[in-house]
């Protein structure tokens, strides 16, 4: 499996927003980009897609920023990947010019593999991912 940078950035950004908005605060593109070490202009495009997929809410203007649309436990990884990466969890094998054996094999295998991915990413939530992605340091603080 290969992750696109976009999927990686998007997941990190969502986790970042989740962590930094636990008491309802907002976080800005630039802050996230700095913390997660991502080009903030590229991140902007990603956050746009995440908002359009109703995963985050944006407020404009001074003191604006992003917050999660719903709790991290209600955001499934499949939601995120679908919003950002049209190919990794597709709805069907692309229809190409193949025919016969080639096409049958592709369809059949694709179906199984996609099912496995879907099951995996549908089961896992952002909250779980964050829990496992964070380590507490000696003094009990989050190390991010």
């Amino acid at each position: 499996m290969k992750f696109t940078a976009k999927a990686e950035y998007g997941l990190a950004a969502l986790a970042d927003i989740a962590i930094h908005s636990e008491q309802g605060e907002k976080t800005t593109t630039v802050e996230i980009a700095q913390r997660q070490n991502i080009s903030h202009k590229y991140l902007e495009q990603i956050l746009l897609q995440l908002r359009q997929a109703n995963l985050i809410r944006a407020s404009k203007g001074q003191k604006g920023g992003y917050s999660l649309m719903r709790p991290a436990s209600g955001i499934h990884i499949s939601d995120v990947l679908n919003a950002l990466d049209s190919s990794i969890l597709a709805d069907a094998a692309e229809i190409g010019s193949e025919s016969g054996l080639r096409r049958n094999i592709k369809d059949c295998l694709w179906d199984k593999m996609n099912g496995a991915m879907r099951a995996c990413t549908d089961r896992m939530t952002l909250a779980e991912l964050i829990e496992q992605g964070i380590c507490a340091d000696d003094s009990g603080n989050y190390v991010i």
Copy 2:
């Protein structure tokens, strides 16, 4: 999920070799390429990788060609994908420059997704794939 053409070609080629070598015959690059509608020069590269992965055996010279190294029921889809596509079933998430949250999230999620893919492709064999990819026509012949 997205299949690379290489993986698709490789699976079709293996299936083709399996079908056309049931009594120990060999099949050539050009024949496979014609039947499966693949550039034979590109197929050559793919078959090279499959041979280096010990999935097929090649004989050189006139009357040469390819045959399976072991029965199709002993070839797992994961073997094929590993031989052809270094990214789809990788051994570990690539080590990039990320650190902290980003890296942890990537590792964690990658681990699960890869596990799901592995389970799926380890379970399925080339023989099973062929069985499902072939349809008999009215007169009972294979339609390929």
